[in-house]
């Protein structure tokens, strides 16, 4: 995923072009309700046209850009994608499974993903992933009185 700056610029322009066109098409469907008003579809159309124009200029400029070597990054694909997957699973499980259980599992897995192998301390990791959810749950339900999802197990 190490695209050159030129390719990134082209991708940016194309994505915004598509979005601009999509917004314009959607905006034409907005009903005009009041007689002496420009209507709720007008401003979105203006914004859509502005996006299309800006993205088109961006595209022209991007195509004229010189290819440049982008710096070799020290990024770690596995760590990133696992983090994305964990957050995805966590937000999906948040309501049905309940705050406490989903958070314990998420924290444990996420800390494991982020911690370098030589630094892994199972006792600390387990302690944090168990104590933090209970502490937060108590804080929010009892002190701030905003209840968190209890989930299928009732806690």
């Amino acid at each position: 995923m190490n695209l050159s700056n030129k390719k990134k610029s082209i991708l940016t322009s194309v994505l915004f072009l598509i979005f601009g066109v999509f917004l314009f098409v959607q905006a034409t469907g907005v009903k005009h309700m009041m007689k002496n008003d420009v209507g709720s579809g007008f401003f979105p159309k203006v914004i859509a046209i502005a996006i299309i124009v800006a993205a088109a200029i961006r595209l022209v400029m991007a195509l004229r850009e010189k290819e440049s070597e982008s710096k070799a990054s020290n990024s770690d694909m596995a760590g990133g994608w696992m983090t994305i997957a964990l957050i995805g699973i966590y937000v999906l499980a948040f309501n049905p499974v309940g705050f406490i259980i989903s958070t314990i599992v998420y924290l444990f897995a996420q800390i494991l993903v982020l911690t370098p192998k030589e630094k892994r301390n199972w006792i600390t990791i387990s302690a944090i992933s168990i104590i933090a959810p209970f502490a937060l749950y108590a804080l929010f339900t009892h002190v701030i009185s905003s209840p968190l999802p209890k989930g299928i197990f009732g806690f």
Partner: protein, 509 residues
């Protein structure tokens, strides 16, 4: 109203306690690289919803002030700015630490942060009532033009690519269109989802873009998570500088404070630019510019005075016109509106006690910062050792709770993850996200005022250029875009000559 404000803040132990907690947590978030002042504000915003209005606002005040002030600790001891605002503090703070004078650098940094903050808070107290009187005469035409002005400034100044900034701003406006439209109440862009009738929640977008994105990026960069681990030790008595010595820098102090104040008032520029600008200005007006960067306290004074002076400055347009110029004030706006306090020219009449409450809270927070950051320095420095791999997952959990508690809707929790991914894509494509959030907030203001102005004139657009104040703002907007284009063309030419590509870096709050 002033006496009411004193009752709500100074004579209210809960409120004072919350300011204290806010300042301390702010300093912690500000000092740890990877956590930011904005993140602290975002996380505590939903919590402030459930409090008494003044208490909630005071908490946010403490967090904002503490967050900006904490960055200097890591800028000096780790040579990494804890928040982007302290970027220029590293230039002389680092060399000072090398010389074994880290303590002096920290002491002066804290003291001058206090002075910078104090000058800007006084400016806020004296300017905003007068500005509110001026803005009282504004109609929808003026508000439309000011919104356009703010949007262009933000787009052209954040990040180095003008077009990416503009696209981000426009995208933010597009997001603001979702839900029930202003004026006629038409339902648009909801794709049949009733959860979208009210549009996206600002908190949800902020949490996604500024917290979830950062955590995912840490995942991609987990090899760097340990840092190089070297931390300077320090010894410090008092604030490390005599009163006389500090006061002898009065010209630099005032100059830097004014730069910070001005940058704060202008939308979209933010603390990091102000600290860099004040540093450059200080160096060029100094009698010994060659010493800057070798470890002199002048560099610390310039950077830290100006970034704290941004605080008062940035609240001026927010309070008098409802225009947030940076992420922190955007969050502030959320905190005010949820309690039914509408920023704008009428705020002194309708909610005067809260405005004076904000002033008093700022003053209190500033004093608490001065004492606590110094007294608790040892603890704050210790906290820098907490590994990020423990801290960030817990922060993410707090983000999810924050998103859930703002509306008790699971849809918001999913949206946070989606906005987090979107922020990641933006970062990857080098599209700045600050214009997007400001675009989102100013989008509905722009549309509503445009349509109201047009309804009054029966559809004639001339109202925007015949009213003088409106015209002036539109002209400045055009001029700022023209200047940025010119600067970019010149830079592109220079780059062509040199045969190198200028690497674009995004400004971060």
């Amino acid at each position: 109203m002033v006496s009411q404000a004193i009752h709500m803040v100074l004579l209210n132990p809960i409120c004072l306690g919350l300011i204290f907690i806010g300042v301390v947590i702010g300093i912690i978030f500000g000092s740890i690289p990877g956590l930011s002042a904005s993140m602290a504000l975002i996380l505590f915003l939903p919590m402030s919803f459930g409090m008494e209005p003044m208490n909630g606002i005071a908490l946010l005040v403490g967090l904002y002030l503490g967050g900006i002030s904490g960055g200097l600790i890591s800028a000096i001891l780790l040579k990494i700015p804890g928040t982007a605002s302290s970027i220029a503090t590293v230039f002389d703070g680092g060399p000072l630490a090398d010389k074994g004078e880290a303590g002096k650098a920290l002491g002066v940094g804290i003291l001058t942060s206090f002075i910078g903050g104090l000058i800007s808070i006084f400016a806020l107290m004296f300017i905003s009532p007068y500005l509110a009187k001026v803005t009282l005469a504004f109609t929808s035409a003026e508000y439309f033009s000011i919104a356009v002005f703010a949007l262009t400034i933000i787009s052209s100044l954040s990040g180095n690519s003008l077009l990416n900034g503009i696209l981000a701003g426009l995208f933010g406006i597009a997001l603001s269109l979702v839900g029930i439209a202003p004026v006629d109440g038409a339902i648009r862009f909801t794709f049949g989802h009733s959860q979208l009738y009210g549009g996206f929640d600002t908190v949800v977008i902020l949490i996604g873009l500024y917290a979830v994105t950062d955590i995912i990026r840490t995942g991609f960069e987990r090899r760097d998570i340990l840092g190089d681990g070297s931390k300077y030790s320090y010894s410090l008595k008092g604030y490390g500088i005599s009163f006389k010595d500090y006061i002898s820098h009065w010209r630099l102090i005032i100059q830097s404070a004014l730069i910070g104040l001005g940058i704060g008032i202008l939308p979209g520029i933010g603390g990091s630019t102000s600290s860099l600008l004040a540093y450059t200005a200080g160096k060029s007006t100094s009698k010994y510019p060659e010493k800057w960067g070798t470890g002199i306290i002048d560099g610390i004074i310039a950077s830290e005075t100006s970034n704290n002076a941004v605080i008062g400055g940035s609240l001026i347009p927010l309070i008098t016109m409802g225009i947030p110029g940076n992420v922190a004030t955007a969050i502030f706006l959320g905190g005010l509106t949820i309690h039914g306090i509408a920023p704008g020219p009428l705020i002194f009449m309708k909610s005067g006690q809260y405005v004076y409450g904000i002033f008093i809270s700022l003053l209190v927070a500033n004093v608490i910062m001065l004492i606590c950051e110094r007294a608790g320095l040892r603890v704050f420095v210790k906290l820098l050792d907490i590994p990020k791999y423990y801290l960030l997952p817990v922060v993410l959990v707090c983000c999810v709770i924050g998103a859930y508690c703002s509306n008790f809707s699971i849809f918001d929790v999913w949206s946070v993850a989606v906005f987090g991914l979107m922020g990641l894509l933006f970062k990857y494509l080098k599209v700045p996200s600050t214009p997007m959030i400001i675009g989102y907030i100013l989008g509905s203001m722009t549309e509503e005022n445009m349509r109201q102005a047009l309804m009054q004139t029966g559809g004639s657009w001339s109202i925007f250029v015949t009213r003088p104040i409106s015209l002036i703002f539109l002209l400045i907007a055009v001029a700022s875009v023209a200047m940025t284009i010119r600067k970019q063309v010149l830079k592109a030419k220079a780059a062509k000559v040199a045969g190198t590509v200028v690497e674009e870096e995004e400004e971060e709050e």
